[in-house]
Each structure stands twice: as C-alpha cells, then as structure tokens.
Subunit: 369 residues, 2 copies
C-alpha cells in the first residue's frame, strides 16, 4: 500500500498544475500517467534529427490571464511568438482567419476596411436563431466563404457537417476587416522557451511529488491509500461508461523530416480545408524558433478511433456529459478537471486556470476533513 | 572619408533601434558611441564574480505596447519578471508604491480597501492648482506619508525639494488601496533572457550596420560622408550649449559583491528615502533570475556632476529645451531622438517607440531626397 494525501490521475496540464499547487501547500502527491512521459498532449521532444517537435500536434500557448501567465512563468522563460496560419484555397495560400487580405486576394479586389465590411454585409446570409456552426458562419461570411474555408475543414476535423455542430465551434474563429493576420489576439502569445516537457519537468520537480508513468488508474487504484483523488482522464471511462460513451474525436499524426531543406512552408501552419485527407501541416521551427539546416513537419489526420483528443460539441453529447457530471458531484473525495474529465474543448491556458481553481477547492477540502 | 547613408550617434536604445530599422530598409548605417560598449545605460555584463549586473543601475523592462514588445522580441527571449520594491521607513521595509499593506503596517491598522480609501480621503491635503510634485503628493496622500516616502527620496534623487519639481515626476508613482505590490502594472513585464547587451548585439548584427566604439561625434563628424544624421546625445551639447546648459542629474554607482551570501535582500530593490546617501540598493539576481551562491548589488548615489542620466523636469528647463528643439527643426538632415536628445524622462519602451517612429520618418526622408 502506497500512501499519499492526493492521487492525481494524468500528468498533462490539468494534473501537473493541480499536483504542484497541492505540493506547494504541503500535501504529498502521487501523480500517475498511462503514457511513458509527462506533459500529456503538450509533450514535446527532440526527434531523431534533433528538431524539437510536438508529438501530439502543435501546441501554441496564448492567454489573456495575468494569473496563468505569472503562475507558469515560475517554470519557464518565454519566446514571443504570434501564430499565423495560411489556408490553401483554389491553389492560393490565404491568411486565416479571413481578413482584408484574404478577401482581396481571393476575389481580386482592392477593398479598404469599410469596403470589406460592406462586402461582408452584402454576402452574409443572416440566420435567426443561430444554433449550429453553419448558422454562425453563413450569418457572418455567407455561403461561398463558408464552403471554401469552413465546410471542408469541419467535415475532416469533426467528421460532421457544419450544420451538425454547435455554434460554439465556429465562434472560435473571428472574421476581420483589417490586415491583422494573427491567429490569436490574446495579450500573451509566447512559447515556453525550452519547450513544454521542460516546463512540466520543473513543475513536477518538488519533494512532495512522486511520479509513476506507464501506470493505469485501474491497476493502482486499490493500492493507493489517499484522502483525495484528482482525475483528469475521460469521465465516462471513470464510471465504466455506465450511461454510454462520450464521443471524442481522435487524430493520427504523420511526422516527417526533411534533412536538406531549411524550411518546408512560409508559416507554422497551413490549413487544407478542401484538399488531402489531413487538415493541416505544421512546421515546428517557426513556433519554437529553433535553427537547424533541416526541418520537421506533422500532418494531422482526424479519425474517430484512437486516443481521445477533442470532445465533440453537440447538444446530445453535452447532455450525456451532464449525467456523468451530476453523478460525480455526489462523491466528495474525487475532483474531475481538464479537457477529458470536464468534456470541454479547453485551450491550454483554460486548463491551467481550471486546475488552479479546482486545486484551491481540494486544498480547502483537505483542510476541513 | 567614410561613406554611409546614415550616421547614428549613440548606441543606446534610441540609436540601436533606429540603426536596425534603417538597415532593415536597405540603408547603410554607421553607428558610433563614445563608450567602449554598445547598449548605452542598459549595458549589462558579468562582473568579476560571474554575476550579471547592470553597470549603470537597474533596468527593468515594462511596456503596454504590442508593437514595442513584438519588435524587440526579434532579438531576445524573455523572462517573466514583476518588479517589487520595498521602502525603508522608520526601520520597517514597506511595499512601495504605497498600498493597503504599507498603510496597515506603518500605522498598525487593519483597514480593508474601503478603509484605505477613507483613510487617504481623511489625510490628503487637496491643492488647487496642482503645479509641483509636492502639490500632487500632498493632494494624494497628505503630509505624513509625503514626508516619509517622497520628500527625502526626491531631495536625494533630484537635489531639489518636491515643491521645486514638476508634478509629472511624482505622477509616475500611483497610490493603491489594494494589496497589489507590483512596481509596474504594464501588461508586459519581462527581462531579456540573456540580458540587454545580448539583445543589442543581435539588434546591431546586420550586414548594413557598422559599429565604431570609443568614438566621439566631434572627432568623426567631418570624416563621414552621409545623407542623414540621427543624434541621440544631449541636444545642448550638439549645439555647443549656445543657449546655455540643460541640467541633467547624474549618478555614481557603488557595486558590491558578496561571495558567501546567496541573497542580500528580499526583493530586487529597496528604497532609502530617509537614511543613507544612496537612494536605493538593487540586487540583480532577483530580476535576472540567475542562480549563484554569491550575489551582487549596486548602491546609487545621485549627484549633479558626471554623465547625464536624467533630464530634470522643471518648467524653466523645458523652456530652454524648446529653444534647442526649435533650432533643430530648421535642419532637415538631422534627427534628434532619445532621452538626452529629446530631454525627456523616457522609459526604455518609450525610447524604443520614439525611435521606431522617428526612424520611419528618416526612411521617408531618404526616399525623397
């Protein structure tokens, strides 16, 4: 029997942040992960050719939260990096999200900002109410742009038509009348200077934290005497799928290295809404700032089978999740936090914020047993 | 005769930023400095004991400008660092700027935020109009706090009484009713990860930039064939003091190393408004994040003689500066920019912004000769 104040299941952002905050408060923490490494999907590593890659696809850090930025800065320095994305449409590489440049180049126009606003006003197809992502996109940019930039990408990414997805998904993507071609507009847009794995190593380097990798919760559950469990895996799996399976979208990654080519593409990410089976190609060096005579890229092939990556934002899934959530709230000694445990399409900073918040509650609970 | 499109006088922020922007635009630039190093007063170096110090006193970078942050990030990674200052008053080390903690500890109170606001309302001595720094401080915190925190420091720093200084000087310092003990509240508060000198080295590392150190403008002026001059030294010196000398405050630095002590003080900066001849002690490791078994500090002794550091914000000085400025505007082929050339108490980010702006104008001027 192993003893710890808290067992944390999963060593991604949700688990690692929780573990560190509780350890800082004096609690002993055992953190486990199924995989042979920490850092969850944010895990990065040097590939066989010496290029820092993100094994599970690109992770670009951005936040508006002072608190999250300050907290993570205990464990890393930063590289200022503003993510830029191009989308291949009809043989052209165009800025995405759609902005003034996108429209002028796609349609051979020379609109100023007011012209862009007027153009969008003309092409948009207002829908009321706005329930699905299709409603939202059509209302905002009309059918032609919807079909060229959104529909195909969504079909690949989610295996669903835009009309089958909640409006919240497309709401992540703005449309701009100016030339701003940044993918994110958060105040803080930085990459951890030595990568995410190093950040996690420092976060978990604490005398009160023990780490066990390649360890499944089911196998170890009975052998850990503890006061509290923080579970960051899929909540439906924790409850043995008793209400049914929560659908997740998965990904297959195809990594490739070019030894004789310094750069593969002009920006870190190119989207392919209409061509190929992959959604996008990411070239890591743009984001990490690494200099190397070769370069490494990853192609992402969305699929339904495999590790759970994305909760699928549809009302019936949310309803099913709520059943699990209601059940979980009847248990005082376990906390569910993170993208999988809360079935939310969280960004990294949102996971950190959620973990900081829930860890405070756990601290409180441990203080008053 | 040396040829360059542009001669830049001074290799501090104003000069180096200008040089780089013009070089990026394809112009050849010769940049000179009297000192044996680049980076102006931001120059940092490893001392004999291996600690990264700021030879000319602490430089803490902070800005609200996306543009400045993005531009400088081409040349450096960043360490998140929020500057905190304590002030020694009556034997206690109290947060500065004055906040809730400061007042509660100084007066043995237990005020909440509303209590602090009420307290300040009671002690403040409203002045109308507010012309001097004394007017401003008395109006904001009253006489006791003014005398304990501001008057002595100002006397040392400027060699003047608060009543002799423009209100703008004290306006740099806020008063807070909450517990925020950060010295700055800018969105971006970061230190260049490998220091300022490295940042400058990268900024000036460009095929179109030539650097000459230990070179005085007067000695080289006639030997440089150029189309434009960017002057970042004292504007009164450029004009041979023809309207009289602009007063600057200077500093003497007393550096000290402790080999057997990991830390000298709890935060990077402690102010001594009422004791000692120095205004403050800065311990560099807090700001740079360097780990070392020893530590290095600097004491600052303001003085009237020596290298010009601070323009002295008084109306008659501003008037005198305006004469030089008016004169300078009659000359089409020279641009004055920076703390000394514009006689402004600029922070680093403001200098960078001013240099970016003025370099754009120089570019324009070179395009239409």
């Amino acid at each position: 029997m192993i003893r710890a104040d808290v067992l944390v299941v999963g060593a991604g952002f949700a688990g690692a942040v929780t573990a560190r905050l509780l350890a800082d408060a004096g609690h002993s923490v055992l953190i486990i992960d199924r995989r042979p490494h920490i850092a969850g999907n944010a895990y990065d590593e040097y590939d066989a050719h010496g290029i820092l890659i993100h094994r599970y696809g690109p992770h670009l850090f951005h936040t508006n939260s002072d608190r999250v930025m300050r907290w993570l800065s205990r464990f890393t320095d930063w590289r200022f990096y503003e993510h830029r994305v191009l989308t291949q449409v009809e043989g052209q590489l165009l800025p995405f999200p759609i902005n003034r440049t996108t429209l002028n180049r796609l349609y051979g126009l020379d609109l100023d900002e007011a012209g862009v606003a007027a153009f969008l006003e003309k092409v948009r197809e207002p829908r009321d109410p706005i329930r699905t992502s299709e409603d939202l996109v059509l209302s905002s940019v009309g059918r032609d742009l919807c079909d060229k930039f959104f529909r195909g990408y969504t079909r690949k990414q989610w295996g669903l038509d835009l009309a089958e997805l909640s409006a919240g998904v497309a709401a992540r993507i703005p449309v701009r009348t100016n030339d701003d071609d940044r993918y994110f507009t958060d105040v803080y847009q930085f990459m951890p200077r030595e990568g995410y794995t190093k950040l996690f190593e420092r976060m978990l380097d604490h005398p009160h934290i023990q780490i066990r990798l390649e360890t499944d919760f089911r196998d170890i559950d009975r052998h850990i005497a503890r006061r509290h469990t923080v579970y960051t895996g899929p909540i439906d799996e924790y409850y043995d799928f008793r209400f049914g399976r929560l659908p997740y979208r998965s990904l297959r990654f195809e990594h490739q290295h070019f030894a004789d080519r310094e750069w593969f593409q002009p920006v870190a990410q190119i989207n392919y809404p209409n061509d190929h089976d992959y959604t996008r190609i990411t070239e890591f060096k743009h984001a990490t700032g690494q200099r190397h005579t070769g370069t490494s890229i990853v192609r992402e092939y969305p699929q339904s089978e495999g590790d759970p990556y994305y909760p699928i934002p549809r009302p019936e899934n949310e309803e099913l999740y709520q059943k699990y959530k209601d059940l979980s709230e009847t248990e005082p000694n376990i906390t569910f936090v993170g993208r999988l445990a809360q079935y939310r399409y969280y960004n990294m900073d949102q996971v950190v914020a959620a973990a900081l918040k829930s860890a405070e509650k756990v601290k409180e609970a441990l203080r008053h047993p």
